[in-house]
């Protein structure tokens, strides 16, 4: 066991844009990994979230697997963070909330332009879609929120360094954006 702070990350109904923005901390990543090690994350392909200090969640929940992963993170992370517009309010994926699910599926898999062998995917391995895309605070308790589409690299840096240095995390005006 090391004494490093364990951070896990995942993207649910998101576009990985928040993860890309996190990686934009660039060479500061070297400073970060001096004190941090990564648990489950698309960065390292570890598949399950086990005991972690900080969990960063990108994206809202749009299917049953998202809910399952989110609950696994909540169970295993001391601090759970909603990262980005989609985790906080559903974001652009939530634009499907105004169209009945059946119509969405028909448009994508039956009536869409260029569709061949039209059929709605129903493999039991596929997670079921929720009727609406939801922000994650409606499913589990969230401790902190980092707004932005995506939050800038400086937001990640400010938040993580605050936490690591034992300060109450805060974002000044220049770092708060919803777009």
């Amino acid at each position: 066991m090391t004494n490093k702070i364990r951070v896990a990350t995942t993207s649910l109904a998101g576009c990985f844009g928040c993860h890309m923005s996190f990686l934009d901390i660039d060479e500061r990543m070297l400073q970060l990994v001096e004190v941090v090690e990564f648990g489950r994350s698309p960065i390292n392909d570890i598949e399950h979230c086990t005991d972690c200090d900080i969990g960063l969640i990108e994206g809202g929940v749009c299917n049953s697997e998202n809910v399952h992963v989110l609950r696994e993170f909540r169970k295993n992370c001391k601090i759970l963070v909603a990262v980005g517009a989609c985790a906080i309010n559903g974001g652009l994926p939530a634009m499907r909330n105004f169209i009945p699910l059946e119509e969405c599926l028909n448009e994508a898999y039956i009536n869409g332009i260029g569709v061949e062998n039209a059929q709605i995917p129903s493999d039991p391995e596929l997670p079921l879609l929720l009727d609406k895309v939801r922000p994650i605070h409606e499913v589990v308790k969230i401790d902190y929120f980092l707004p932005g589409c995506p939050p800038s690299a400086d937001v990640f840096w400010k938040f993580l360094t605050d936490l690591i240095d034992g300060r109450e995390p805060s974002l000044p005006y220049e770092l708060v954006h919803y777009d």
Partner: protein, 239 residues
């Protein structure tokens, strides 16, 4: 000797007939607001301007200034209340800022930034609201309307028309247009009307002007709404 009130312990002069909001603005004190506009009769609907007057909760935009008032404005408690009010405004409509042309220029968003609002706290309604793109030059997106009635008041009081009204109650409340068909294109609204220009949110947009100012260079990207508001509204009160 002019008459005075105090706001957060500072002495502020006022003239008879002024509201607390008007006295504050004239003295360079910002009280958050969305439905208030110095050129129109107050409406008192958004409650962002909630202050405590001698221990009682009041709307600064409608409450007359009176000798002996001890007003609290910039306190932790009121900021928390205002943040909850703003969060309710966000979840009641559909505010997906990354896809909204008004982002960076939007007063609702700017007030939220000013209050350091980082999340929406409440469950989202995701109400099913329409868009009206029928008008040649003006687009209405009901998803972003906060029912401040500024367009209603501007149309009546400035443009001498009567294009807008609010209909329905509670969650069914919505903006309606004065035309047989109910469509915006059949009203006498022009894009140059103040009613078409005044919306504090992205509910009313002028067509073919989108993204002329890039995101990142917009009004509230670098300046807080308290500063912008005092700069633009200070002289309007004096008129």
């Amino acid at each position: 000797m002019s008459k005075t009130i105090t706001i957060d312990g500072n002495t502020i002069p006022f003239e008879d007939g002024q509201t607390i909001m008007e006295a504050a603005t004239a003295a360079g004190v910002y009280i958050p607001h969305l439905c208030h506009h110095p050129e129109f009769t107050p409406h008192g609907s958004c409650k962002l301007c909630t202050v405590k007057v001698n221990g009682r909760i009041c709307s600064a935009c409608t409450f007359p200034a009176m000798e002996g008032q001890d007003v609290l404005n910039n306190t932790k408690e009121l900021t928390d209340d205002r943040q909850l009010i703003t969060q309710m405004l966000f979840v009641e409509g559909n505010h997906l800022c990354p896809g909204c042309e008004k982002t960076g220029n939007c007063q609702l968003q700017a007030v939220a930034y000013h209050l350091n609002m980082l999340d929406n706290h409440f469950p989202h309604f995701y109400p099913n609201r329409e868009m009206d793109a029928s008008h040649e030059d003006v687009l209405i997106d009901h998803n972003r309307c906060i029912f401040c009635t500024l367009c209603v008041r501007a149309s009546q009081q400035k443009d001498g028309k009567d294009v807008f009204a609010i209909s329905g109650r509670g969650i069914n409340k919505h903006l309606i247009f004065n035309s047989q068909s109910g469509l915006l294109k059949d009203t006498d609204l022009d894009a140059t009307d103040q009613a078409a220009q005044i919306c504090p949110t992205g509910a009313i947009l002028i067509k073919r002007t989108g993204y002329q100012v890039p995101i990142g260079e917009r009004i509230y990207d670098h300046k807080q709404i308290d500063q912008v508001s005092l700069e633009t509204e200070h002289h309007q009160h004096d008129k």
